[in-house]
């Protein structure tokens, strides 16, 4: 099935998310849609899928104009979508998820689960997926969940498949498998749209590349184009692909974690016997695919997890068993991985958010009263210093862009006397300019003699910032390796394989 988009425009208020975008995808073709975070790729696909209504422009399938009033219409027309955040219901089984919205029923609307199971098995076998139709989706690894999404689309006889950032949650190995599946689907004559910001993947699998920036198509490229060319097209200027940092000035081993074990509320062991240490003036980066215990590791250090055993020592003092406030007061700065959930209070102003972790004593609180003048002066200063783009310090943080929100968090955490910085996903969902700025701040913190723990699922960020790299897999340490370890080896370690020539755990 051939897809053609003509002059699609979508506005959100005054913001133009898609500006007259045109695009053609042929059957048997993998068409990559490349663009920076916030460029408007997902908006475009949501328009295609009937989730958003376009303000202007039309969608054509096999040269016929379509009018979708909802995803149901898009699906009926043969469009299938594999969403970035899986559209699966965790407490349903695979079969139930696949049949949802497309149920075969018996007498009086009773569900025909057998038919659904058979359908899952059939598709699963055709593409070699190995998915159990009766498994609960929440029990499945993310890679398998993604296959359920694909089965869902295929079970509805989709001829055009859209993959929205499909590799964000996958290991390098799973990514390779996904690429293989995409090729297989292409051979079966399906048209495929592949949305991503990862240059390597685009070049590996795409037949055609369309680059989008700020809601506009800025050009097409061949898979043979170089990384630098593609990156420049995406960002609109030559990108500084390097973080400048000198060799570390290592001090004492001030932060030591031993045998850390974390069990979550449902009794699942999320972190199992992790030990490592960080020297003053050193960045230890934690690499690994999302969901391998990183979140629990950082939260355990901060005192945010309930069932933790082992030892976490900073400057010789034990942090485990202390309240979050005591940990923060011991000099720990914390950039949480989800700034909207854990980092900021969206309805509070920038100034108010800047005192979130200092609401008990000076400088912002005196005898139970807020020192509003001091807070305002401080906020004014930080707004400048951290280049937060906002009208004023009374702007609610919820109204800021992702990059500016993150700068507020970073400003707050770095403006105390730190003895340790824990930065979880410090640049997730942030524009390139902010990434560069935040990375500089992290490096400056390290150079001031503070031990830094960076957690990132982006291998590039890990490689750019780390003095040493600790790779986590399924809650355990695969190895701790030097910062210049080749990415191929890191990728392998992220799948849990421990290289034979590992130069010992330098912890």
């Amino acid at each position: 099935m051939k897809l053609e988009l003509r002059g699609i425009t979508k506005r959100f208020g005054s913001l133009v998310a898609n500006d007259r975008i045109s695009l053609t995808v042929e059957p048997g073709e993998i068409h990559a849609l490349l663009g920076e975070n916030g460029a408007g790729k997902s908006t475009l696909m949501n328009v295609l899928y009937g989730l958003y209504r376009a303000d202007e422009g039309e969608i054509l399938l096999d040269d016929e104009v379509q009018h979708f009033s909802g995803p149901g219409d898009a699906m009926a027309a043969g469009i299938g979508m594999v969403h970035q955040h899986f559209m699966l219901i965790p407490v349903f089984t695979v079969a139930e998820n696949v049949m949802l919205g497309n149920e075969s029923t018996g007498f009086a609307g009773t569900l025909d689960l057998d038919a659904a199971r058979a359908r899952v098995k059939e598709i699963s076998e055709r593409f070699g997926f190995h998915v159990d139709p009766d498994a609960l989706v929440e029990d499945l690894p993310v890679g398998v969940q993604q296959r359920v999404e694909i089965i869902k689309a295929l079970s509805r006889d989709a001829e055009l498949l859209v993959f929205d950032e499909p590799t964000a949650v996958l290991t390098p190995q799973e990514t390779d498998e996904l690429m293989e599946i995409m090729r297989q689907l292409r051979e079966a004559g399906k048209a495929i749209v592949f949305i991503t910001h990862k240059l390597r993947e685009v070049r590996a699998v795409a037949d055609k590349i369309t680059v989008i920036r700020l809601g506009k198509v800025v050009g097409e490229a061949e898979p043979t184009a170089s990384n630098a060319e593609l990156a420049a097209m995406m960002v609109g200027r030559p990108v500084e692909l390097v973080v400048h940092k000198g060799p570390p000035k290592l001090g004492e081993e001030v932060f030591v974690v031993k045998d850390l074990r974390v069990v979550n509320a449902t009794g699942h062991v999320q972190v199992d016997g992790i030990s490592f240490s960080i020297r003053a003036g050193e960045v230890l980066a934690v690499a690994g695919v999302q969901g391998n215990g990183q979140t629990e590791l950082t939260e355990a250090i901060l005192g945010l997890q309930d069932h933790v055993t082992g030892s976490v020592r900073l400057d010789g003092k034990e942090l485990l068993g202390r309240s979050v406030r005591q940990v923060l007061d011991a000099g720990v700065g914390f950039i949480p991985e989800d700034r909207q959930e854990d980092g900021l209070v969206g309805n509070m102003t920038i100034a108010e958010n800047l005192m979130l972790n200092r609401s008990f004593h000076l400088p912002f609180v005196r005898r139970g009263s807020l020192q509003i003048d001091k807070l305002r002066a401080f906020a004014q200063e930080k707004l400048q210093q951290y280049d937060v783009r906002a009208r004023d310090i009374d702007t609610a943080c919820g109204n800021l862009s992702g990059g500016n929100q993150q700068k507020v968090v970073v400003a707050r955490e770095l403006s105390r006397d730190l003895r340790l910085l824990v930065a979880a996903q410090p640049t997730r969902g942030v524009d390139v300019g902010s990434i560069e700025f935040i990375h500089k701040q992290v490096v400056a913190t390290r150079d001031s003699g503070v031990p830094v723990l960076v957690v990132s699922t982006e291998l590039d960020e890990v490689v750019a910032l780390a003095d040493r790299i600790m790779v986590l897999y399924r809650g355990r340490v695969v190895g701790i390796v030097p910062g210049d370890t080749p990415r191929e080896q890191l990728g392998l370690m992220m799948t849990g394989e421990r290289p034979k020539d590992l130069e010992g755990d330098v912890a």
């Binding site: 913001l15 964000a168 910001h197 979050v324 209070v345 969206g346 807020l370 919820g398 524009d431 590039d460």
Partner: protein, 411 residues
């Protein structure tokens, strides 16, 4: 390692909000957003709309209106004048009962309704502040009734049984009542913080438990029951424990209203100028961010419920020691515990808003009774109008849609 790393995936990790829509602020906390956000104009329209609906109900159940409706096509003027009489009569009676009575001659009696309004407003403001404070921390305190009942009972116990000079007796009775209200509410806070029990359920249940506890106390001599009486009622307060009238004997307005004003000032300071209030707001808006920043969410909940219970308790104390000092009864709360929820919602959980909402509802209450007396319209109509106001205020788009539609059709 400062050598050139080809930053292959260079720009941007996982695309979270493509299209750059402004991200949702601290999600899942729509309660506060809805209470605080909203425009004043829609608020006025909401009141108008609610009053209109009330008028329809008054007119539809009026006997003359129904009679004239029988021959509405023959003599439409009869019908419309009957409607006008019913509605105008109702609202002028309401106004005379709540603000200014033009039917009497001397000034003191003319403005007496206004002082009645202030008298009725005092407990609504106090309890409204308590409920509103809970809202600000993300807690829904439906337990106003129970907190009022037990606080009133405790204050009453002190007021009846102790013999002390007024300078000690009155403050002591107020204090005891307030503390009991605080602790009763704190049960819900502690259970939520320690076991996760939902405060809506717990406070509702505590209302019933408090009611029956009071019932028991009122049917047992030695606790609260008046000796020699079979009714669940206590003796009246001793003189030294009664809140004094502030405008002299001719008016019923007592010290409770000033206490309410002080409480408004306190709540304003607490929420806007104190560190505790800052933490309360942070916990209410986004508990997980507050927790990550070292604020003990559970302890904040407990503290909030203590203060909220104290404020609601003061409302109960106000009733027992001020408005109805002739004895503790089972209905001493007079529905204020629930009215407080609507007051807090209408006041958008802000102290000054609650002050205004409390005055408005106080006026409805004062006027409602005189409307019932003068026009025979059941006071329940006030309940209808109040709840409609809150509903409409919470949905400005609906109000606008309603007001736009007739305009379009008229053309």
């Amino acid at each position: 390692m400062n050598d050139a790393v080809t930053n292959e995936q260079a720009p941007a990790p996982a695309e979270k909000e493509s299209g750059g829509q402004p991200p949702e602020p601290g999600k899942g906390h729509s309660l506060m957003r809805q209470i605080v956000a909203g425009d004043a104009f829609a608020g006025v329209l909401a009141v108008v709309l609610a009053v209109l609906v009330g008028s329809v109900m008054v007119a539809a159940t009026d006997d003359t209106v129904r009679e004239t409706a029988g021959y509405v096509f023959a003599r439409p003027s009869d019908f419309f004048s009957a409607v006008w009489d019913a509605v105008w009569g109702a609202y002028t009676a309401l106004f005379r009962g709540a603000v200014y009575n033009n039917l009497v001659s001397d000034f003191a009696t003319q403005i007496r309704p206004l002082t009645e309004t202030l008298k009725f407003a005092a407990p609504l403001i106090l309890a409204g502040l308590g409920v509103g404070l809970g809202f600000r921390a993300g807690l829904f305190n439906i337990g106003g009734r129970g907190q009022m009942l037990l606080a009133g009972a405790a204050a009453g116990y002190v007021g009846i049984n102790f013999d002390l000079p007024i300078a000690i007796h009155l403050p002591l009775a107020i204090l005891v009542g307030t503390v009991v209200g605080a602790f009763w509410a704190a049960i819900a806070g502690v259970l939520k913080a320690r076991t996760g029990a939902h405060e809506v359920i717990v406070t509702i249940m505590l209302n019933y438990v408090a009611y029956y506890l009071l019932f028991y106390a009122l049917s047992k001599e030695g606790l609260l029951q008046a000796p020699g009486s079979a009714n669940p009622k206590s003796l009246p307060m001793k003189e030294s424990a009664v809140l004094p009238d502030i405008l002299g004997d001719r008016f019923n307005l007592h010290l409770g209203f000033l206490i309410a004003l002080v409480a408004v000032a306190f709540a304003w300071w607490l929420l806007n100028r104190s560190a505790l209030g800052y933490r309360i707001r942070a916990v209410g808006e986004n508990p997980s961010a507050a927790r990550s920043a070292g604020i003990d969410v559970g302890r904040t909940w407990i503290t909030v419920m203590l203060i909220a219970g104290a404020l609601v308790g003061l409302a109960g104390v106000n009733q027992v020691l001020g408005t109805v000092p002739d004895g503790v009864t089972l209905d001493l709360d007079a529905g204020i515990g629930f009215d407080a929820i609507t007051v807090a919602l209408l006041g958008r959980s802000r102290p000054l808003g609650i002050l205004a909402a409390g005055l408005l509802f106080g006026a409805f209450k004062a006027g409602g009774f005189s409307m019932q007396a003068a026009e025979g319209i059941p006071v329940d109509i006030v309940l209808v109008v109040q709840s409609l106001i809150v509903l409409f205020i919470a949905a400005p788009p609906l109000v606008r849609a309603i007001f736009r539609l007739p305009a379009k059709e008229a053309k």
